[in-house]
């Protein structure tokens, strides 16, 4: 060997660009092909073996529920129930206090109070929005119901933030706490409310209290998650600088981290409101009075009224969201420098607003306006219009129907049905091994182990076939959600106009009760499964859009400017700077997308998707508590497996490092 070659050996090793089919994508394709061979060769011959199923679980769960109810309704119940009673009574009183407070103010005073509070602490534009919202509750003829729902939401959102934000700060500061709480939050968001409605009712009885508890279970997780994300997003050197200057931990949190995370905290408030409002219908099932009942009963006997009820929910969500945003904007430290003149003006404004509310209440009493708006409303006329629209949708002779029906049939015949049989009929061990292998390739050994455990759990509790059926649909819905969500999210992050157009649409999709728009949709695509998928995509996409666009916009302007200074084109800035820097937010978006798709599996069950959603719905409605819980466990297991499989190598590495 010559000296020259000796020298050359350790020189720079540049890895050759491998073609895609030799990378991970190729491996995944190989695994899928292997499963396909299993499917084609041994179709329908190897379902999950009965000997590997634990059948006794639903029975145990049923017995637990019976025991709980019996001991609760015994002549002398244990003092433990007194604690639950006390808490439920506290919540009941809180909600009914709000309602009767608004009642006392009369509807005129309530409108004035809402409008002027927002005008004083927020912005006049939003105040006009609030005024319009209250006016529309009156015009729609659902004033009383709207105020009941509003009171319920005030209590639920307030308590959710009270619980969620401190926990979020904790999770943002401590990786350990975050890792501990994340699976809990996943469970709270994925396990359908239908599964735990009965235990909640047994413990807290029915009424506003139980409704608030149920709403909180669903609305607290986004408050925690997004707060934590915001805290974590504060640059570590800022925190270090604060510590170096001798700030105590409390000072660092209150004066540095929270103010710098303002944007994300705002998003947390906003999402908590929207999540809470998306529970209005379910809250109605257990005695949370208000718009939820209008929607539920309307669906059975007057769909147009259900739509109006849904509309009121959406209006409330948008008004609340914009109002809180404008109030938060006013607290912006950059705008808090008060001069004496400004102070005097603000004091005057406060006085004027108080006087305005007083005047309105006085006027209300003088004209004999009660707490409930009972004057002339436009309900009849609105119902007429809506009904006309519904009649059009329901008419199979229109040209729209001739387009939508074949599309629906095509999707089912050539997309969902084959996919469904692929998942359900492939020999179970081939499918299970394949899924674990994909997790291993995409995300590494630890996620693969978790996926294996989850897949095993699904089979073990006897939900293999139903879960695979649901899995096929969830996969389609998740794929569509992620593609649309990221694309639109990035676009909205780049363009203010797009953001402005998308935002109200997102609000509508997130808060309009799904059944309200899915049932008319069934008339257009009368075939099962498709409506369920549409419902989950439409529900999940807004969250992904919001998180992604927020992430893109939160990328520090210095980084963007620096790239610009180096002569990067807009596309390069987006692809090489903004998207990589917003990776955390995009990953959270994907993760939330998966969770949201799973969160509406039950709605799918109510509109013909079958599978696990159908079982969960039956669990509540046919008193099959055990069955409902088992199906929910399967949904949760699917969710965790999907989440771990899609987390990718980077997050795995990150988790190992801490």
């Amino acid at each position: 060997m010559s000296a020259a070659t000796d020298y050359a050996a350790p020189a720079l090793v540049i890895p050759a660009q491998r073609p895609w089919w030799r990378g991970r994508v190729g491996l995944v394709v190989l695994v899928v092909l292997a499963i396909l061979i299993g499917f084609l060769g041994w179709k329908n011959t190897r379902p999950w073996p009965d000997s590997l199923v634990w059948n006794a679980l639903p029975g145990y769960l049923d017995r637990f529920q019976t025991w709980l109810s019996d001991s609760r309704n015994a002549p002398n119940p244990s003092f433990v129930f007194d604690v639950f009673n006390g808490f439920a009574n506290f919540l009941d009183n809180l909600v009914s206090w709000f309602t009767s407070f608004f009642d006392k103010l009369t509807w005129v005073g309530t409108t004035a109070l809402g409008t002027l509070v927002v005008a004083r602490f927020g912005h006049w534009k939003q105040a006009l929005g609030v005024l319009a919202a209250f006016a529309s509750f009156a015009l729609i003829g659902l004033w009383e119901e709207s105020i009941q729902t509003f009171s319920l939401m005030l209590a639920a959102v307030g308590l959710s933030l009270l619980v969620g934000m401190p926990l979020g700060v904790l999770a943002g500061r401590s990786r350990r706490f975050n890792n501990f709480i994340t699976p809990l939050l996943d469970a709270m968001q994925i396990v359908p409310a239908f599964a735990y409605l009965m235990p909640v009712v047994i413990l807290f009885s029915v009424g506003p209290g139980a409704a608030v508890v149920t709403t909180m279970i669903y609305a607290v997780p986004p408050a925690i998650r997004i707060t934590a994300l915001g805290i974590r997003g504060v640059a570590p050197n800022t925190v270090e600088a604060a510590a170096a200057m001798g700030s105590t931990r409390m000072q660092t949190i209150l004066k540095v981290q929270l103010p710098l995370a303002r944007r994300m905290l705002l998003l947390a408030v906003n999402q908590t409101i929207l999540f809470a409002l998306s529970m209005v219908v379910i809250a109605g099932l257990i005695g949370g009075p208000g718009l939820g009942d209008v929607v539920t009963n309307g669906l059975y006997s007057n769909p147009a009224l259900a739509l109006l009820g849904g509309l009121a929910i959406v209006i409330m969500a948008m008004a609340l969201d914009r109002a809180t945003e404008s109030m938060a904007d006013r607290t912006d430290p950059a705008r808090r420098h008060l001069t004496d003149r400004k102070k005097r003006r603000l004091r005057l404004a406060t006085l004027a607003c108080t006087a305005g509310v007083g005047l309105a209440v006085g006027l209300g009493y003088a004209f004999g306006a009660g707490g409930i708006y009972s004057g002339r409303t436009a309900q009849e006329r609105l119902l007429g219009y809506v009904q006309k629209g519904l009649d059009y949708v329901q008419n199979p002779a229109t040209w729209i129907f001739h387009i939508t029906e074949p599309i629906g049939n095509f999707i089912v015949a050539h997309g969902l049905t084959p996919l469904n049989s692929f998942f359900v009929e492939t020999p179970w061990f081939v499918m299970a091994l394949g899924l674990v292998a994909i997790a291993l390739i995409v995300s590494g050994p630890r996620p693969a182990v978790i996926t294996a455990v989850m897949v095993g759990t699904i089979g073990f509790i006897g939900e293999w076939a139903t879960s695979m059926e649901t899995f096929a649909q969830v996969l389609v819905a998740t794929g569509m959600t992620i593609v649309f969500g990221i694309a639109l999210g990035v676009w909205a992050g780049e363009s203010r106009t797009v953001d402005r157009v998308l935002r109200p649409i997102n609000d509508v999709l997130q808060t309009l009760p799904q059944l309200v728009y899915i049932i008319p949709f069934i008339y257009l695509m009368p075939v099962s499964q498709v409506p369920g998928i549409v419902a989950s995509v439409l529900y999940a996409v807004p969250v992904v859009i919001r998180l992604v666009s927020n992430g893109i916009r939160s990328v520090s302007p210095e980084a963007v400017e620096a790239a610009g200074a180096f002569g990067a084109t807009r596309r390069q800035v987006l692809l090489k700077v903004k998207i990589p820097l917003a990776r955390d937010a995009i990953m959270l978006g994907v993760n939330q997308g998966v969770i949201m798709v799973l969160a509406v599996v039950v709605i799918g069950g109510l509109v013909g998707s079958g599978g696990l959603g159908y079982q969960v719905a039956q669990g509540l409605q046919r008193n099959e508590f055990g069955l409902g819980v088992v199906a929910s466990i399967a949904i949760l297991a699917l969710g965790i497996a999907l989440d771990r499989t899609t987390q990718g190598r980077a997050r795995t590495r990150q988790e190992r490092a801490t």
């Binding site: 005008a119 009965m198 029915v206 099932l285 159908y614 509540l620």
Partner: protein, 325 residues
Amino acid sequence: MSHQLEGRRGRWVVAAPLALAVIVALSVAGMATARTAKSCGTVTLNEQAWAGSTANTYVAKNALQMIGCKIKITQITEIPVYQAMANGKTDAVLEDWQHVDQYKQYITKQHSVVMGGSNGVTGHIGWYIPTYLMQQYPKFKTWKGLKGKESIFKSPESGSQGMFLGGDPSYVQKDQQLIKALHLNFKFVSVGAEPAQVARWSQLYRQHKPVLFYWYTPQYLNLQYKLSEVKLPKRFKGCQDDAKSGGSVAKYKCAYDHIVLNKVFSAKFAKSGSPAYKVLKRFSWSNKDQEQVAKYIAGDHLNPDKAAQKWISANKAKVNKWLGK
């Protein structure tokens, strides 16, 4: 800075009068509602989602108001409402479709709920097809006529089989078992909750296409659509209706039984000595009565209170009997 302040004053000038103007306009348009309450106290009735239940609840409400009761209406779903009655948060459910498990647990074992007897309405579940189809294929009068003709009911999700459109998952049913026991070549397709199921079959009805589905009476839609029942095998002793009870399919090979719809009351309410309890205990009417009121509400979109009053004023004798006059 000063520019900003000017801006704010400008906004006030716009916002304040606008807000006041709207408020004044609304207050002139609105009127107060006065409420009165007498000795009977407040009675809480529970209304469920289907129109028949709304009819019961509002007719009972308006009758009770005639003797000075104040009525509160809760809208809690079927199973949790038992817990509500056990706690005394709801006093009465006027139409219960035989929730046998709940009877056992809450009525027999806990004594927290009491049985109130029939509300006079009988429910019936069965297999239905549109009448136009029955006229075209008179053989469909009984299930035997369906044999060999299943493919008429083909749909995108049933493949080569015919589609049987299942009922709301929350209702008592055994159709999967029946299809197996009768050796019919149907695929059981569930499209979910009742509004979704109605959407599906009514769309096919409008297109004059064949459809076979789970349906029941009394139902206000029966006044709107012409439907015919397909006869199922005769009932035999020990024949089961609710697939929940499990076992072999042979146990289910019969028509659904006629169901007595019950009133159930909170034990606390029953013991309270309220005059309302006696009235509700006597409350009973016919399928026809209920369907009529349900149609006022769901078909003609009349306000439930007005619908109830309309029926009451036409049926004074019945109502007076409930009221003990």
